[in-house]
Homo-oligomer: 172 residues x 2
């Protein structure tokens, strides 16, 4: 009982401190670049990208919330703001009249196509360029292991593939 928490070893502490620093600075850096560039937060960008990659560029609010790891209230507020800017549209789902479908508009598509190059540059210059191919693989494994603890549900899995594509299209 006197030693339920053996404190952290120097190695653990050093790695932990750096990880925390990255976790704090990275979101700010992403938001800053996207905000200055096109007036979007990173979350708004991911939301629009998810819609752009969806079938018919349309998704149910709940599905979109799960995909972007947002609570439903948060997504609702964000979508209201995006809709006010003409970047998305919302309309009731015909099959389930409780549900709401969201679609990205042409203006929304145009905006993320405008935003993407700068965002990719920021990702490279802030992170990827600092890592060797070996470290990239290690990062993949490490982040995966940590995610297994942080997100046992594995809800965040489909956000991917938004980056390895060329300009997004309907499907083909």
């Amino acid at each position: 009982m006197t030693d339920p928490t053996p404190w952290l070893s120097p190695e653990e502490s050093a790695a932990w401190v750096r990880l925390v620093a990255v976790a704090e600075l990275l979101p700010s850096a992403l938001d800053a670049q996207l905000g200055a560039d096109v007036g979007l937060t990173h979350f708004e960008y991911v939301t629009l990208m998810s819609l752009a990659g969806a079938h018919e560029r349309t998704m149910r609010m709940t599905a979109l919330a799960a995909l972007t790891n947002a609570t439903l209230p948060r997504l609702s507020h964000v979508m209201r703001r995006l809709e006010a800017r003409g970047l998305v549209r919302r309309f009731p789902c015909p099959e389930d009249r409780r549900a709401t479908n969201a679609t990205i508009t042409d203006a929304g598509l145009a905006l993320i196509e405008q935003a993407a190059p700068g965002h990719v540059r920021a990702v490279r210059s802030n992170v990827l360029d600092a890592l060797s191919p070996t470290q990239l693989e290690q990062l993949y494994e490490i982040a995966g292991a940590v995610l297994g603890r942080l997100d046992p549900e594995e809800r965040l899995n489909a956000t991917s593939c938004q980056f390895s594509e060329g300009p997004r299209t309907r499907i083909a």
Copy 2:
């Protein structure tokens, strides 16, 4: 000009997505545990820890802000709340009457001593336990490399050593 952003390779994209997920979930997890345990945010906890480890348990606001990577307004607001809870005290610096010194109170020390075990447990269960010793070393290197890009000024360096110590004391 047509290819200034070669998009991301599948490997890059996969690692990036996982890193972003960790960067989003980790702060929430820390805040949730500390908030439920002792009603502190992670930032407040780090602030109190920094004060506890400082000479005479006292620090200038500017120094504390630099150490915790906070803006001065943010720190000012946080310190006002902490002072209202009796966890810190503020008083004008005798040598420079522009400056304000902050000290952690005995109540503040007691609170972080109460909070530390649970926090360390959370750090372990959410991150460290998922990594092998090799991965811990890799994480240290990777996070260091990324920090070199995100924080070229190296402002976040002294937050360390708060974890490898036993219960904090003045100095000796």
